[in-house]
Amino acid sequence: MKRIISLFLVLIMILSMAACSRNDDEVKTAVSVEEIKKPEYKSGQTITLKVYNWGEYISDGSEDSLDVNAAFEEYFNTNRSSLYGGAKVKVEYSTYPTNEDMYSKLKNSAVAYDIVVPSDYMIEKLKNEGMLFSFDTSTLSNYKNIPESFKKAYYDENNEYSVPYTYGMMGVIYNKEIVDKNDIYDEDNKKTWGLLWNEKYKNNILQFNNPRDAFATAMYWKGLNVNSTDPDEWDKALELLKEQKPLLQGYVNDEIFNKMKTESAAIAPYFVGDFLTMAEEEENLDFYYPDEGVNYFVDAMCIPSCSQNPHIAKEYINFMIGETAAVANAMYIGYASPNSAVINSEEYIEAMNEYAYEGENGEGAYELLYNYTPDVVNAAYDSLYPGEISPACYRSFDPDIQTHVNTLWEDLKISGSTELWVHILSIAIVVAVVAYAGYSIYIRKKRSRDYRMRDKQKMLEKRTKALENAQKPTE
């Protein structure tokens, strides 16, 4: 027993050795990469650079694309190796499906990642928890490729924690054959989120199956702040979503691809990069950005504070925003690129023209991605709500609001879902089972009582017989 307990303690100790998280008592100030000494790399040594990125989020050499990680290794080993004592680098690449997965892995596992690519709100959270290295972005030779509009973002005001990798915007996908073009405009002739609430398309509308994005569609529509800390605003949005629920075909995540391609549904909110993929297979699909405001996300490269090779991580970041790697990635991923070298690259523009999508004014995928940019969104919001910070980007929730939103989401899921037959049938089954069990217990008891009675009777008969027999000879 003692051995088992001690085994437990050892295991718990191993599991609680968190790599990147720090104790609450420590001061949460970031360490700068430039301040720490470069490890002593030796010639002939192979350094493993651990890169942790979203799935399907890098050009990996499939379908004639450039293998960016291999290209980095080659570049580093031939051009930069001498700065690191002649050491060679090897990229170890792994992927995650959500920001939250990445966060918990970073916080709880002992793997020391050198590069992660979180979204905006997650960068803010990691930064606030002291889980990132800061670094001097001006020392990156390719940093000039990053447009000014992506610098000094709210999550990284001094450009010292992150370098943007991709970005994307949310909008509405609709089927041109089914949806009347006039319905995407409101009374003021502005493109509106209201299409998702249009009763004409009952059972043909899809909605996000996660609270953050679903609430956002309602909040953008009615000019509520998606980063509000006021529970009342969320309650208002809930009313809108409840109103919408009877019109919906369902709340979906990645099923949206299939449903839109097979024309199972006609209207859905989603991200523009994914829309381009869908439009490859279904030519009736079109896309618009509602004028009331949309969400955009930025995924950016960061160096976690657990990194063992932050200097080489910087080399990696610099390579990724260089023209070769950035163009290859942008073509592979299909999301918009926050990189002027990509936007102006002829190779890239040509590749974007190969997309099947064609808007009504003849604009192609390139125009759809880049004509409506985050700064346009922010400017539009400024003119609508002067003086307020644009809520186009999601901010990290504080725990109270997170709980509140979760509760509202459950409320939404429960609402209106009364199908009486479910209650009746299940209660009938339970009653039947209980009745059967009771009956069989009763039968069993009765039988065993009967048997016991019979045994008793037999015994009595035997005894009387024996008595009779015993008495006989004396007669």
């Binding site: 088992i4 939250e100 199956n209 075909q249 979906v252 995540n253 299939n258 199908e419 069990a437």
Partner: protein, 270 residues
Amino acid sequence: MNKKRSFMNSIAAAPHIFWAVLFIILPLLIVLYYAFTDSDGHFSFSNIASLPSYASIFWLSLELSIIATAICLLLGYPLAYIIAKSKPKTQKILSMLLMLPMWTNLLIRTYSIMAILDNGGIINTLLGTSMQIVGTKGAVIFGMVYDFLPYMVLPIYTCISKIDKNMWEAASDLGCNTFSTLTKVIIPLSRSGIISGVTMVLVPSISTFYISQKLGGGTFELIGDTIERQFVTGALNVGAAISLVMMILILISLTVMNKFGDSDEGGIIV
């Protein structure tokens, strides 16, 4: 000699114990830890206290899984009976056919059902209609039945085929026809199979989240979805508390069900 054997035994058992500790007991302790702490790691009952608000979701999951289990039993018992009664060669083929869908991953099977039942899916295309099937509770029950039916049939089939042939003969000798043999002899003797079948269908259907997400169209949540969402949105503590209560409830219901199983047959899991 004896001492030596017990030493050898403990060596042989060591990997299993290590496995059990690492992957069963330790995770349970972690769930326990999260269920009774708040997000800052301080001891707290607030997660447990917040559970009553999930009661209606829990009831819905329970109701749907009870219906699915009952349908599985109604479909599965005759099937198991037919398989057990057929010739050995046919038995092999039939049980292989039963197992065949299980070679495909559950997620893929569920996703394909969604594609079949969808508004623009195969059924609606063939009929030329656009019935709304995905998104109803019926579709979720259908998915549960489809996915978990083999778990009902297999234990019952094993149980029936283990019944001594003499029992059947004795029953008919004593005047039972086929039907009363079934009701008076075979069903009571295969009770342990029924109970393990019911358990193996009921427990995964209560806690399923994938089936309800895909076939329920996300318009309602089952308790599995709720737990999943809590974990995904980072509310580990509430998620852990729900899981803990679920585990306890399942444990209780298994114990109750075992009471009805034949004690000497040993029956099932708990």
